[in-house]
Symmetry: C2
């Protein structure tokens, strides 16, 4: 069995450490601040530090671990495997696709998809086996694909949450509690289990209902940023709208 | 007990009829095409036709129902109660907030919010009592509030589905099945049960991670419409980004 060192006590590091403990994997969590070496020789080091710090931490690690022959992998969606190349022989990426936050303790790790990349097939297999102990959904992706995956998750999750926030603000102004719209949001997502998003599209934009669209735009006239977002998404859904 | 006539066999009419049958309410469903009168005298008529046809149907109905003293209500989110005023004495709105589609037979009607408006308190109470037989979530909203509610649901549901479709396209191009991102979408929505959307916001925009943002924008360079949507939403989330 491999011994894992997780370097970085942020959301990703904390959650991975918890998941590994639950799966009976020997893993230790180290803070990246003031890091001065491991208490044992790990087989796999997971860098769970912020994207911008991966390179600096690699420099530090490489200076401490002369002759290290294990695997060093980062956990970032948007950083190439290449950033690790100058420092180590066996490098990889171990990317869990999830919206981690520390408050969020009841995550089902077995459903989180993990995306794996390795500098050679041995490394890839090692990281893949580790991920498979945590999750039923493990995939191989190269760095350009992982970047696409990350962009797709920004649209599907970060940006849809921004739309929920816009909705929240509009309701608040009208004196309506946000809770009333949550069942509809659940249903919107539930539909994706049987329909593609294209098939599931409803609303005035897809119907080409120009009267409703212009009433909505008028009603948003004090909020030019929301009007712009409304216009762009209406046009995306149905290019016949708003020429 | 009231006797209900539902006029319009579209998604809303079909689902309301099904829900009323399940709740033991006497309701009949009539097609608006070739409509030539009811087989009995209804207490409440629900107009479930398309927004643009509500006025024409009211003209037709009024010509057939001289001396009608029941309630006539439409079921639209974005049409004012006033459209019915020239035709009937007792008018109202009976708006179920849901993304109805005919394929979608397993809806839990008891969780669907209903928004009620009436021309006087008697009408409002009649419609409210009817809605309460179907749902635990019944609210009174006037026409301007209902318009805000509708706009909020366009952002939260129709537009977030459009973002899921963008995500689908990006993944498809990278050879990644859309299914892998669905758990993350579920988690994004599940967070709304304990956090406000503002508190739940994650991703490069809220972190102000300009390196990742510009890498993403570069990667979308062949899709100016997606770049524009990315830019606007990134700026909405954090006005410090992209000046």
């Amino acid at each position: 069995m491999c011994r894992i060192a997780i370097l970085g006590k942020g959301n990703v590091g904390t959650h991975l450490h918890r998941a590994m403990a639950a799966a009976g994997i020997e893993a230790d969590l180290y803070s990246s601040r003031g890091f001065d070496g491991f208490s044992y020789n790990p087989d796999i080091i997971l860098l769970t530090v912020k994207d911008d710090v991966i390179e600096d931490m690699s420099t530090l690690l490489a200076s401490r671990l002369s002759c290290f022959n294990g695997v060093v992998a980062h956990t970032s969606g948007s950083v190439s495997i290449e950033v690790l190349r100058p420092f180590f022989n066996n490098i990889g990426v171990f990317y869990p696709l999830q919206t981690f936050s520390k408050a969020n303790l009841s995550l089902k790790y077995s459903e989180i998809p993990f995306f794996i990349e390795g500098s050679d097939s041995d490394v890839t297999q090692k990281l893949e086996s580790l991920a498979m102990l945590l999750s039923r959904n493990v995939f191989r992706l190269d760095s350009p694909q992982r970047m696409k995956m990350h962009i797709a998750s920004v649209f599907a999750c970060n940006f849809s949450n921004a739309l929920f926030n816009i909705s929240h603000g509009i309701l608040e102004e009208a004196g309506i509690p946000f809770e009333v719209i949550i069942p509809l949001i659940h249903e919107t997502v539930r539909k994706l289990e049987t329909l593609s998003p294209k098939e599931a599209q409803t609303g005035p934009a897809i119907r080409g209902d120009s009267k409703v669209i212009s009433r909505h735009l008028d009603s948003l006239s004090s909020y030019p940023d929301l009007q712009n977002i409304y216009r762009l998404l209406t046009e995306y859904i149905n290019p016949d709208n708003i020429k």
